[in-house]
Structure formats: C-alpha cells, structure tokens
C-alpha cells in the first residue's frame, strides 16, 4: 500500500511539473506558432501525462489529455494553425487537468466531474478546419468556445456530451484518417519523457527533510563553537588537528546546506507568462513580458514569500500601468506594452525589479484621492512631493480606481506587497515617471534562515536585532557635545543631525524595568529603519554582530509583536530576535509618525525634482562643503590619542581593520590647516568611506547635516583642487568634494615622495 502511495505522489509531482512546463510552452508557442520543436515538446509532455494517468486508470485525465493530444497532433503536423482561441482552450484543459491532480492529491483518487463539453470543444477544434471540407459532419457539436472550468460540477449535461463520455477515449468525432495519423505519430516517439528531464535528473527532496537537515547542521555549527575553545586549552596536537578538521568540515557543510536550499527565481517566475497572457487578454491589452536573471537564486522560503507580491505587482502593471493599444499609439508608443522582470544579486541581497513602460502613476489622481479620503488636507496635498505621494499608495484600501473590478480597485494589492516584502526583511521602492512607466524595486535578503544580527544587552538579557533594519548606532555621551535625550512632553526624542527622532526605551517597552533614564549617563541608541520611519531604540549595551540562524517561536507566541523569532547562541542558550517593525507598531510609532510625514515640512525640498542627498560639512576656511551621501558609509568621532602611525600615514583601528586617515584640508583648495590642535582632547570628526572594502577616514572639522542639492553643479574654471564644482542652495554656495580625485592624489603622493614638496600641505602631528 505504501509503495503505491509513493508511486502516486511521484506521479502527482511529475504531473505538476509537466503542467507547469506546458503552461509556459503554450504561451511561448502563441508568440512563435511556427516553432515545431516547441510543439513537439508540448506534445510529448501531454503524452507522458496521458500515459501516466492511463497507468493509474485516471480516466478523466486520460480523456482530456487525449483530446488535447489530438488537437496538438494536428497542429504539429501542420494541419491546423494555432490561434489564440485554441491556446485558450488548451490552457483551459490544462487548468482542468491541474484541478484533477489537486483532487487526486487530496483524495488519492480521481475526483468526480464532467469534462464532456471541454473534450468536445477540443475535438471540434481539432476537426474545425477539416469541418470546412465536410461541414455537416459535426456542426451539431461545434459549441462556441467559451471559457469553461471543466472540473466544475455545474457544467450542463446534454445528450451529445454523454455520448462522448460513454465512448472509448479515441475521438470518434474526428475523422478516422486523422485519428490514424495521430496514433501512428505517438508510436514513433522514442522517449516519453518531458524534454526538461532529459538534461539532468535531480533528486527530489521534500522541503521538510531539508528543513530538518538545516536545523541539524546549525546545531552542529553551535556544537563546534563549543568545542573550539577546548582545542586551545588542551595541549594535544592530535586533538587540535582533529578539531580543526571538524571546524572546516562543519563550515563547508553549512555553506553547502545553505546552497542546497537556494532555488532559482524562475520557479516562481515561470507562472507569470501565463498570468500576463490571461490578464492582458481580459483587459484587452497586448503585453510582452521580458524576464531577466531567471537563474538568480533565492532561499526556498523567500520564493514563497515573493510569489503573492509579484502577482499583485504584475496585475497592477497590466491593469493600471500599461495603457490600451489605442492610447499607446496616440502617445507615440509601440502598441505592445512591455513589462520587464529583472532579478539580480546586489550587495548580498536579491533585487527584484518589475518595470513597465505604461502611463506611470497619476500623481494628481493620487493627490485627489488622498484629499477625498481625508488623509491629508487639500493645501497640504498640493505641496506634497511625488515620493511622499508614493507612500500613500501603500496604505491599505487606497485605490484611485473608481470601480472595483475582479482585477483591481480594492486597494489591497500594494498593501499586500508591502507587508509581505517587509515581513521577510525586504524593502520596496517605487519610481514612477508620468507617461514613461513605473518601476517597482524589491530588495530582499538572500536567505531567511541565516542573517546578520546585532546583539544588544538589555536588563541582563541578550537580544538580537536584524542588521537589515539598523541604520546606525549612536552613543550619546555626556562628555562629548552630542545632544542627549530630550523630553517631548513625556515622549523621549533626540536630535540626530538636527532631526527629531522618537526614542523607545527597550527595557520599558519589554516591561523589564520602569527605571527612568538618568541624566548625564551615556546612552546607547540604535537607530532603526522600519515601516518607513526611523526611530531610536535605547539599549544598555551593544555587544557584537553575529550570523544567526532564525527559528520561529511557535504558535504560543503568535500574538507577540516584539519578537521576530529566536536564535541559539554559542553556549546553547536561546536568545530572542527583536522585530523592529513590530516594536514600531506596538508603540504606535508607525501611525504617529506616518501622520507626521504627511504634513509637509520642507516645501522647498519637495519642489526640486532632481536633487541628490549630500552630507554638508566644514573644513577650516571652507564652511560649506558637501560630499555625495553615496560616498559616506559612517560618521565617526575618533579621539586623537587613538591615532597611530603606519609610515607616513595616520591610521586608526577600525573594527578589525586598519583605517587610514586622510586630512581633507590637505587636499582641497582654500582650506586652511587645522589650527594646531585647538583642544588637545577634542575628538576628530571622521567620515568613513570604503574603497574595495578597505576603510578610509576623511578627517573634517565639523559635520553639519544632510542636504538635498540640485543635480546640476557648475564646474569651476579654472578647476579647483579637490572640488568637483559648486552650486547654489538658498543663496549660499556649496562646494562639492571630488573624492575620486582626492583619493587618486593621495595614492600618487604616497607612491611619489618627490611630489610632496610641490603640494602645499601641512602635516599635522
């Protein structure tokens, strides 16, 4: 009994795979109807399906697949031309087959149902062109092809269809000679395998056993961690070399395990050509789907997580984005709309982009809807930037469509996208240009199972914070001039470079203590980015960053918003992983602050469409310098006594690395030398930048703020050393630093000592 169960589940798996492939092939075939090879592939797939279902005596499946095969056989032999009607019919048949497979999976036997009208349609299509020769033959059967769900129980029965059902599967409605052709062709087929299985034969492993394996491997990693210290204690060469071997093997095991869980994104994407075809037909638009980077690999669990968001995204593109063919031609575009799906790896994350060349988001309509739904005041809405309006479209229930259709209009899709993506630690960004199209960019972590997390201490307990949501950590030291926490009528806030940031005390929030923060005691604040807002989390101490294996907390802790899961530490104890989104929600931070962003604070900024963020800082003698924010990795404050020397260079220890310090005033025209150490103990403000993962610290006098400056910089003529150009912002001249030139100059200077005399510089001790 168990044996047949196994064969059956094997059959179901294979049937599903074939059906998925056929889906894809049909849509491809519709675009290139002449592709004989493709027809052959489809025919073989269908035939395998028929053969397998015959083996299990699944009569319904056998009959449907046989009817499809008959139609396909004629297409393959060039007797019929594939048109959209036939493809729709064949796809309907696939859906019916899929429903039967699902039924078999559930009940171990074929579900009851009536496919007579579907089979009849398929056969009448197969006879269709021949019927022109002898139209009388089956005119009574040629029902107009309409979309029927063949497995639905309510397909009306009539005498004709009953007759079909009673007959053996061979299509007696087709002319006898045609029947013979299709049968002989079948016998000629050498292998009954679907084409894709000829390439390689992977082993199917259930997800459950993979998960178990994964958890055993991560346990092993932890056990190894406990073993490692002994190797140092025990002075036995044999023992320590064995431990070393175990160490290496475990590491490799872990890496391979992670790799095994990765699957190409095409697993999810393969469904989309069919979806695009169906939805665009429904909307009467013609759309071409382009997929790039289908081989990009993602963790299995993430693949499941992105499926729904992508479906919503594609539906949005088709229904809202792409205009009707007439409109497109009127706008001077190609009548066929394009949707591009692109996946790639970027900085240890997977980036999925869905772009369309449609009409873009109608920001005026968004504005009107927002005012109409009383989300913002009319005068506020008028001053909102496009980026702020884009935030609105993610709100649940927000829709600019007046009527709800079966495709869209409820305002659910974008909300689903946002929640699903942020649930797995991803971010979503929309860029839209009116008239040119919209791009949705989703950034997802590579894997869910393992992620870097920052460990913090709070009231004696260790908690992990996912690294993806951490923006920076700030230590509010009383001795330095940094601001301390301030009281916003009971709510703690603090100023981060001039911007007020709400602060949550972790110990209070978790109910671990009610101890108020003491003044004049250094506070560690972790700035988190979550649900579109920034907030600070006060912890007792920051420990270290570790790669953690994420485990779920289980159903008992379902209602807990504060934790995303748990992980196991090196000593075998469990530690909780905080959920920055959940904390923000449970503190009501999200709603409070989102209201805040809707109020327009800086209208001047919003007006400039093409601005880029830059960090404003000063050097002695030049007080308005800016560096593109992209070059800035971190801002540090380094005590002068920490500076050490490496030959001519000044270096400091930076994490595990050595960071070279670069005194910017030596490289920029107009900057004066730092007036010989004004205060001996005053820490240096340093902007860190990474070149090929090597940190470089740019020493400046003071860091001001992040500003948004227009993209158009005026090049200075003659060229000023170290500066790219300058621009006006609120009647003040901002000089933009040319970091590339400075870095090049530095390496030149390091390699050619003779140049040193030419350059007007001052080595500060």
């Amino acid at each position: 009994m168990e044996n047949t169960d196994e064969i059956l589940s094997e059959f179901i798996l294979e049937a599903r795979e074939i059906l998925d492939h056929l889906d894809l092939d049909f849509v491809k075939l519709e675009q290139t109807p002449e592709d004989k090879k493709l027809v052959g592939n489809i025919f073989r797939g269908m035939h395998t399906l028929k053969g397998n279902s015959g083996f299990f005596a699944f009569r319904r499946m056998e009959k449907i697949s046989h009817a499809c095969e008959t139609l396909l056989g004629k297409i393959r032999d060039g007797l019929l031309v594939l048109d959209s009607l036939k493809v729709t019919l064949l796809l309907d048949a696939l859906d019916a087959l899929r429903l039967i497979v699902i039924g078999i999976e559930g009940g171990k036997e074929e579900p009851q149902g009536d496919d007579a009208s579907l089979i009849e349609q398929l056969l009448s299509q197969a006879n269709g062109q021949l019927a022109q020769v002898a139209p009388k033959l089956n005119s009574s059967h040629s029902v107009p092809a309409h979309r029927t769900d063949a497995a639905a129980e309510d397909v009306p029965l009539n005498v004709v269809t009953n007759e079909v059902l009673d007959r053996p599967p061979s299509p007696s409605l087709a002319g006898p000679e045609i029947d013979a052709i299709s049968e002989t062709k079948v016998e000629e087929l050498p292998a009954l395998l679907p084409s894709h299985e000829l390439v390689s034969a992977p082993v199917r492993v259930s997800l459950e056993s993979l998960d178990k394996l994964m958890s055993v491997v991560s346990e092993m990693v932890l056990a190894r961690n406990r073993l490692l210290p002994y190797a140092n204690e025990v002075n036995d060469y044999q023992f320590s070399s064995t431990v070393r071997a175990i160490d290496l093997l475990t590491q490799e095991l872990q890496e391979r395990m992670i790799k095994t869980r990765m699957q190409p994104i095409s697993q999810v994407w393969s469904k989309f050509p069919r979806l695009v075809r169906d939805v665009s037909n429904e909307c009467q638009k013609s759309i071409r789907l382009i997929q790039e980077g289908t081989e990009t690999e993602l963790d299995r669990t993430l693949l499941d997580a992105i499926r729904d968001p992508l479906v919503h995204c594609i539906r949005n593109c088709i229904d809202h984005g792409i205009e009707s063919p007439q409109e497109r031609i009127a706008n001077g575009k190609d009548a066929i709309g394009k949707i591009l799906m692109k996946a790639s790896h970027e900085n240890g994350a997977v980036v999925i982009e869905v772009a369309d060349d449609g009409g873009g988001i109608n920001f005026d309509l968004v504005r009107q809807t927002a005012v109409g739904r009383k989300l913002v005041q009319a005068d506020q809405a008028a001053g909102m930037s496009e980026q702020q309006l884009l935030e609105l479209i993610f709100l649940p229930g927000f829709s600019t469509k007046k009527a709800v259709t079966n495709l869209s209009g409820r305002g659910v899709g974008m909300d689903v996208m946002k929640t699903n993506v942020s649930h797995v630690g991803g971010a979503i960004k929309v860029v839209s240009v009116r008239g040119c199209g919209t791009t949705v960019r989703m950034t997802m972590p590579l894997t869910l199972a393992i992620m870097p997390a920052l460990f913090v201490l709070c009231e004696g307990g260790q908690y992990a914070i996912p690294q993806t949501s951490i923006v920076e950590t700030v230590r509010l030291d009383v001795e330095s001039e940094s601001t301390e926490l301030e009281d916003f009528y009971g709510t703690p806030v603090f100023r981060l470079r001039g911007q007020l940031i709400p602060v949550v005390l972790l110990s209070w929030h978790l109910g671990l203590s009610q101890r108020p923060l003491q003044r004049n005691v250094p506070v560690t604040v972790i700035i988190l980015h979550s649900a579109g807002i920034k907030y600070g989390l006060v912890v007792d101490e920051v420990l270290d960053i570790q790669e953690v294996v994420v485990k779920t907390l289980g159903p008992l802790f379902k209602g807990m918003q504060n934790f995303a899961g748990a992980t196991i530490l090196g000593d075998g104890s469990a530690s909780l992983i905080l959920d920055p989104d959940g904390i923000a929600r449970s503190c009501d931070l999200v709603e409070k602050v989102q209201e805040e962003t809707l109020k327009i604070k800086e209208v001047t900024l919003a007006k400039n469409e093409h601005t880029s963020p830059m960090l404003l800082f000063e050097l002695e003698g030049l007080d308005r310098l800016a560096i593109p924010l992209g070059y800035v990795d971190r801002l540090e404050s380094i005590a002068p006594e920490k500076i050490q020397r490496n030959g001519k260079r000044e270096v400091v220890k930076y994490g595990d690395q050595i960071m070279h310090l670069l005194r910017l005033n030596e490289y920029v025209d107009g900057a004066k030398a730092t007036s010989s150490d004004p205060l001996p103990g005053k820490p240096l403000s340093v902007i860190t930048h990474h070149i090929n993962n090597v940190p470089v610290g740019l020493v400046v006098s003071k860091v001001h703020d992040i500003i948004y400056v227009p993209d158009m910089a005026q090049e200075s003529s003659p060229r000023q050393r170290g500066l790219m150009g300058c621009m006006l912002l609120n009647d003040e001249v901002i000089n933009v630093l040319d970091l590339k030139q400075i870095l090049m100059e530095r390496s030149l200077r390091d390699n050619e000592p003779s140049r040193q005399s030419i350059i007007d510089m001052d080595v500060v001790q």
Partner: protein, 160 residues
C-alpha cells in the same frame, strides 16, 4: 476517553499529579531558560532543545498554584501537546504508574470550571490522590497574552 494507562507522576506543592506517559517525549535536567518579555505569565520563556525552540510552560501558574520561592524547577518534562513540543517545569519526577480505569473519578461538581478542562479527574491511589492532567489542554488559552486567572486556595491545613 479512557483513563487507563501509564502515567508519569510528579509533585507540585503537596499534590501529586499525573500526565499520560504516552505524550511525554523525554525528561530533561537544567535546561537554560530565556525569558520572553510580555508573554503570558504562564509561559516562563523559551529553551533550546537540540536546535528546536521550545516554549517552557509554568505548570504552577497554569493550574493556579502560588509560586513558592523554594522551587528548584530543575526538571523539565518535554511533551507533545496538540502537535507542538513544550516543556513543563517541575521540581521532581516520580515513577511511572500503570493504572486501571476503575480507580478513576471525575472532579466533584464544585470544582472550579476553569480547571475542569485541565484536571480531568483523579486516580484514587492508596493514601493519595493522583490528579490527572490532560496534556492536550495545557496550551489552551495560552496564546492570549493574559492567561486565565485562577488562584488556588487549599481548604485543608498542612497536617491533615
């Protein structure tokens, strides 16, 4: 429901409790416990059971016994309860008792309703009552942050 079978016995305060031995997966000593802030007061935290995160239920709290300071809570009973694995903290574990159905008796009518689900009855052992806990009901209601409030009061003095 049959009340015949093997029961793992353990003491909480002065009471003897029994739990169906079939549901018990293993007994463990001195599991390291991680507190989960803001969870239901009857959940003491989570622990790592060979790579699996297992919730630890405070059985004292669950059945409304007062928390005694002298509890050692060094033994945990790992059991499968409605499909998930949980750990129960107890002070000590006794023997496994094989009992026949005839010694079983359901709770009296004035037994608090909230506990009737959990403590399904007693087996009358010589000189002592073995309170039978339905292991499948331990989790019921625990998902809510506020568990069911129940405070046990004993009407018998210590020496009886």
């Amino acid at each position: 429901m049959s009340f015949k079978g093997d029961y793992l016995s353990f003491n909480l305060e002065n009471y003897l409790f029994g739990i169906s031995a079939l549901d018990v997966l293993e007994l463990n000593k001195n599991l390291s416990l991680t507190q989960v802030p803001k969870a239901s007061p009857q959940i003491r935290g989570i622990t790592n059971l060979r790579g699996q995160i297992v919730p630890v239920v405070d059985l004292y709290g669950r059945i409304g016994l007062d928390c005694l300071p002298k509890r050692s809570e060094s033994v945990s009973i790992i059991l499968r309860c409605t499909g998930i694995v949980i750990a129960l903290l107890v002070d000590n574990v006794g023997e496994i008792l094989s009992l026949e159905g005839e010694t079983f008796e359901v709770p009296p009518n004035n037994f608090p309703l909230v506990l009737k689900e959990l403590i399904v009855g007693v087996h009358k052992l010589p000189g002592q009552l073995l309170h039978i806990i339905d292991s499948q009901k331990i989790m019921v209601g625990l998902e809510n942050i506020r568990g069911l409030p129940f405070n046990h009061k004993t009407y018998l003095t210590e020496h009886i």
